[in-house]
């Protein structure tokens, strides 16, 4: 396990991403095969390795533009989405806090991004004003479930703070929720202003 980790590090330093990923995947396989006998260090390394591969899947997903014909593009995008989601779920399954919170944030962000991409997707040519309006309404309806999923996952991630976990990714989930659900999350504390008294 440590040797595989060292090799992955060396290939990262020497700029050989494919070889690096081979050894990252190897670490995950080792831990998956070990099951309950894997110790904390092994799970940490597997979670770290898994996070790199999951982020690769996330980048692939983000690259797919929702161009026309939308059905075709959507099909590709959905497949990439599933792949990225599975990868992040695997990362979270190792139970290492810092990688679980990242996975949580990313999964929610994937849905939020899909919702935005759908609304920004190309509109078919030849639609009149009324048809275009109806098309937009239809698209908006399609985005709701994705936005709801994003909110659900961000809320789960943010609620880790209830157990004292408040890392970068939990904070990012709070930030996203401020925009997605402002009535509940855009709550600003009152702060002291400038002090005009010398003493």
């Amino acid at each position: 396990m440590e040797a595989a980790n060292r090799l992955a590090e060396l290939y990262e330093l020497s700029g050989k991403p494919l070889k690096r990923r081979f050894w990252l995947a190897k670490q995950m396989k080792t831990v998956d095969a070990a099951g309950d006998s894997a110790d904390d260090r092994m799970r940490y390394l597997a979670a770290s390795a898994s996070s790199v591969l999951a982020n690769d899947a996330f980048i692939q997903y983000k690259r797919i533009k929702l161009s026309l014909p939308l059905n075709e593009a959507m099909s590709k995008k959905t497949k990439a989405l599933e792949k990225a989601m599975n990868a992040f779920q695997l990362t979270a399954s190792y139970g290492v806090s810092q990688y679980s919170t990242e996975a949580g944030y990313r999964m929610a962000d994937i849905y939020a991004q899909l919702s935005k991409d759908l609304m920004a997707s190309d509109r078919p040519d030849g639609l009149n004003e009324l048809e275009l309006e109806q098309y937009d309404i239809l698209l908006e309806e399609q985005t709701f479930p994705f936005e709801d999923s994003a909110i659900d996952i961000h809320e789960q991630n943010a609620s880790r703070s209830w157990n004292g976990i408040y890392d970068k990714w939990v904070k990012n989930s709070f930030k996203s929720l401020r925009k997605l659900l402002p009535g509940r999350y855009a709550k600003d504390e009152l702060l002291m202003g400038v002090s005009h008294e010398l003493n």
Binding site: S161, D167, E189, S195, L198
Partner: protein, 202 residues
């Protein structure tokens, strides 16, 4: 008789000398006081002027310039609260929570019941994820001022969002609302939302 006269004269002379000496001393003391008072008042007016300049820069969000002036004042007059509190304020604005914490802790050493310093420390603790510590600072504020509006609202937010203690948060939001002359519409919405979440939970 001569001897008595001589003694009387000597006594009068001594009294005269003593009076002159005491009076001279008193005049001298007055003179010293005047000499000392002049630079002190000058110094304090310069200090107030510099402080005012620093405060104006903070208000204009020119934090780096303000910091130079206020820091100099703080170095020369570490017993004065104003520069320290504003340096803490700048630190929060610049997200330098470690420095902010240090300034507010020093402020509390000078004035242990300073509500502004306690609330700022609570905010910093919350920002840094030390939620129990944040709650503790707010509780200290309530010991000094049980109906402090800032602490009521801020602790409500802390318990609501970051601790998941919805019922406790609701009590604080409601107390905050009761203390308003006109109901706060934002808090009204928060109360409505938190009640619906509590209902779902139970």
């Amino acid at each position: 008789m001569n001897l008595i006269n001589m003694r009387h004269k000597a006594h009068l002379f001594l009294v005269l000398i003593s009076t002159v000496l005491i009076s001279a001393c008193a005049n001298n003391q007055k003179g010293e006081q005047t000499e000392q008072a002049l630079p002190q008042s000058l110094e304090s007016s310069q200090l107030a002027q510099k402080f005012k300049q620093g405060v104006e820069l903070v208000e204009q969000s020119r934090f780096d310039e303000a910091k130079i002036i206020l820091d100099k004042l703080h170095q020369t007059h570490p017993q004065i609260l104003g520069p320290m509190l504003n340096l803490g304020h700048i630190s929060i604005k610049q997200q330098d929570f470690e420095a902010g914490k240090a300034y507010y802790l020093k402020s509390l050493q000078l004035k242990p019941k300073h509500i502004g310093a306690l609330i700022s420390l609570a905010y910093i603790a919350r920002e840094e994820g030390r939620f129990d510590e944040a709650e503790n600072y707010y509780r200290q504020v309530f010991e000094i001022e049980p109906n402090n509006l800032m602490a009521l609202k801020n602790l409500g937010i802390l318990l609501d969002l970051y601790r998941g203690r919805l019922r406790d948060a609701l009590v604080l939001y409601e107390q905050y609302q009761l203390l308003q002359k006109q109901p706060d519409t934002q808090i009204k919405d928060w109360i409505f939302d938190i009640k619906s979440r509590i209902e779902v939970e139970s």
